[in-house]
């Protein structure tokens, strides 16, 4: 209670003497800046739309690790290669066709993850497209003949089963034996015929022949050879860059955690003070309600409510507050209020005829505020993790991308089994930073405000 002597300035100065608290403050400043950036740079609607719309990220690889992972592992993982350009009209006998030729170098240590051909056609009549692949060693591989309709066509080359079967045979022929690993299309295309799982590095060519007499105004092609790394943060199973959820999760986590913690502790403070001041029946009733709350299991109740009513995260916040305002804290705060109730200045206030309301809100609560502020800050991480828990059960906000949702998606899609470390570690790191910074500041404040705990 001696913190009243410090005042705000003194408390901050005192706080800056703790190294942990300074570090915590620095982290919180960074997190707040990220939050502001998120809200300004990617407006809410845009973030939700990008996160929800499945076609938006089609040109990103699936489950790709972040690019910087290449600096740490000895292997150079491939980035995606995007090939596009205008076709040439070629006369072949009496008929004309449109030929797209793309060449690219492939110097990575791992195979690509996928190959997709995007073909846009304005031609009313459908036509065939022949695709072929030329390797640096001169090996020529026919990728198939596909029917192109008007509109946007996507040809998932690496999903064609018949192509896989023929390539398997082709590789066996070249090696002269059955390889001791399984052959997928993307592996067969880039495999060095040495018997080991090695990439053949060098210049490759892809040739697409559109059997139509249309001009290149009407038909355009793009070939995407998907890599295994992408961007700063990598992508998830739906090709979405994790960065959106990481960035947008910051303001959600901070506002959810801070609002819940502050409102709950303040409400508890008011309830405890009222209970102590009025005593008698009011006290009795509030005690019973506290006991009911103790018996009600918090998390199951919260999960049920959010499941049955499918509410947004902000409504959920109200439910969380309603479910926690009678927590065990009320009892300790009530004990403190009982003590303050006997102070002379309260008696003096009573003597000059101050109303109960005035005494509770203007004389008692301000006096009790300093010792509870550390507990507000210390409970912020609890609510940040609570949001993650709710996302974990597929609840939480149905629209917003959050850290908890990333973790949920990662576990749901077997990140732990497939070894997709980045998917788990990126949201975890942000959760750790948030929890750590608030805990550091809270504990330091605790020491300042409760002088008995101050270190020598």
């Amino acid at each position: 209670m001696s913190s009243a002597e410090f005042g705000l300035k003194g408390t901050v100065r005192e706080l800056l003497r703790y190294k942990g608290a300074v570090l915590g403050l620095a982290i919180i400043i960074v997190l707040v800046s990220i939050s502001i950036y998120a809200v300004v740079a990617i407006p809410y609607d845009k973030a939700v739309e990008q996160w929800r719309e499945s076609g938006y990220w089609i040109k990103n690889p699936k489950n790709a690790a972040p690019e910087w992972i290449n600096y740490f592992s000895g292997k150079k993982l491939p980035k995606s290669i995007y090939l596009s350009g205008e076709g040439k009209v070629v006369r072949d006998g009496g008929r004309s066709k449109l030929v797209f030729e793309y060449s690219f170098g492939y110097y990575y240590d791992d195979f690509p993850s996928e190959i997709i051909l995007f073909v846009n056609s304005n031609v009313t009549r459908s036509f065939y497209l022949k695709a072929s692949f030329l390797r640096p060693d001169g090996d020529h591989i026919f990728l198939g003949k596909y029917r192109i309709k008007k509109g946007e066509n996507r040809i998932y080359v690496t999903n064609k089963l018949d192509l896989e079967a023929s390539l398997e045979k082709h590789v066996e022929e070249r090696l002269g034996a059955k390889p001791n690993f399984s052959i997928t299309i993307e592996k067969a295309l880039f495999l060095a015929y040495t018997g080991k799982q090695e990439v053949l590095k060098g210049g490759y060519k892809i040739k697409l022949e559109a059997l139509t007499n249309a001009t290149n105004k009407d038909v355009s092609c793009e070939v995407v050879i998907y890599g295994k790394v992408h961007g700063l943060t990598g992508t998830d199973h739906l090709r979405r860059p994790l960065s959106i959820a990481l960035i947008w999760g910051t303001p959600v986590a901070l506002s959810f955690g801070i609002t819940a913690a502050t409102l709950i502790v303040l409400m508890q403070l008011i309830i405890a003070t009222i209970s102590a001041w009025f005593g008698g029946r009011v006290d009795m009733a509030l005690q019973r309600v506290t006991e009911v709350y103790m018996v009600l299991p918090f998390l199951p109740t919260l999960i049920m409510i959010s499941l049955f009513y499918r509410i947004s995260i902000w409504t959920l916040l109200l439910v969380v507050i309603a479910l926690s305002i009678f927590g065990a804290n009320v009892k300790t705060m009530r004990a403190l209020a009982m003590q303050i109730k006997t102070y002379p200045y309260i008696e003096a206030a009573q003597a000059y005829g101050a109303s109960s309301l005035r005494i509770v809100f203007l004389y008692m609560i301000p006096k009790m505020l300093p010792p509870v502020i550390p507990s507000i800050i210390l409970s912020v991480p609890d609510f940040v993790f609570l949001e993650a828990v709710l996302s974990f059960f597929g609840l939480g906000d149905p629209l917003l991308p959050t850290w908890g949702k990333l973790l949920h998606d990662a576990l749901e899609n077997g990140a732990l089994y497939k070894g997709l470390y980045y998917w788990v570690l990126e949201p975890s790191a942000l959760l750790v930073l948030t929890a750590f910074s608030f805990a550091q500041i809270g504990l330091a404040l605790d020491k300042i405000v409760n002088p008995r705990l101050r270190e020598i």
């Binding site: 942990g20 019973r288 006991e291 009911v292 103790m294 018996v295 009600l296 299991p297 998390l299 199951p300 109740t301 999960i303 049920m304 409510i305 499941l307 049955f308 009513y309 210390l378 991480p381 609890d382 993790f385 993650a388 828990v389 974990f392 059960f393 973790l407 576990l411 732990l416 089994y417 070894g419 470390y421 788990v424 570690l425 975890s428 959760l431 750790v432 929890a435 750590f436 608030f438 805990a439 550091q440 504990l443 409760n450 008995r452 705990l453 270190e455 020598i456």
Partner: protein
Amino acid sequence: MIPRVVRYILKRILMLFLVVVIATYITILIANAGGYVDEIIKSEIQFNVAMYVQNNPAYKGLPPEELKKLIDSMVETQLKLRGLDQPFFIRSFYYLGNALTLNLGRSYFMTSDSGSRMVRLIILERLPQTILLFTTATALLFFIQLLGGLYLSGKYGKRIDRILVNLAPISSMPGWFFLILLILIFYTWLHLLPPSGLVDYPPPPDPFSYFLSVLKHMILPLSAWLISYTWIGIYNMRNFFLIFSTEDYVEVAIAKGVPPGQVRRRYILRPSLPPIITNLALALISSWMGAIVTETVYEWPGLGYTIAQAIGFMDAPVIIGVTVMYAYLLAFTVLVLDIIYGFLDPRIGAAGR
């Protein structure tokens, strides 16, 4: 004339029972989503009856109107059989009565491993696993925190104290979170320990290797809990003891020259025991609910995982059953503690008022 102590106890029993009744009723209201779950069940009954009538060759030749009548009457019997023909408000009191008499009834969807739909059996089947993991964890944590706190309060301001106090922020992250990180290290990376479940699959045949397999599966969740909850617990216990150790009688004892070990045991630990025992009792009872998230992450077949599943299936009887049992257990513990303190500690003053 009834002695005052008996009157106090009777009053407490009445009060706590009232608390259980109210908590149970709130759970019933929420678990049925104010009758919303019943609508789901009604439509399901309708669907099942319609399928049954359609697939039964005995009813093949009937004209459509008669078929409809037949279906309607069968649906009505089914609804009556389950008591769904009455409005939810009235039914909620039936539910309340059943729940309070621990007549937990049958689940809507979930079954126990032996195939039974009795809620009681489902709960009893899952409870031992939860006790095995979380009561062990809670008890372990309690002793580590108690001893650690007591030890540190004697080393106030020393190096070891400062180190352990600085570790307290670790506890701002929950057990399930550490569990995920531990799985990532010990399963995904090192392939040393299993990532989920109670035993290996298929379960080992002889009891000894079965036991070892369960033990192996307990390592990760148990360590995750210890890593998460030890530090703040030691910190709080230390503060608690520090505050007690500035009491006058402790200083007198030290001045008298009582050895430090004895001061700690006799003058600090003993008078601070009641709130510590209260905390332990409440923590042990809460541990019986399991940890919903930890059990779900690890697919540990305990009560917490069952609740998570029941919520997913909207299986109200299971949710209500677990809550009622929990409420009774907790109320009973509080009562026992009240009585013990009423007798032991004159300051709490059962006899006084």
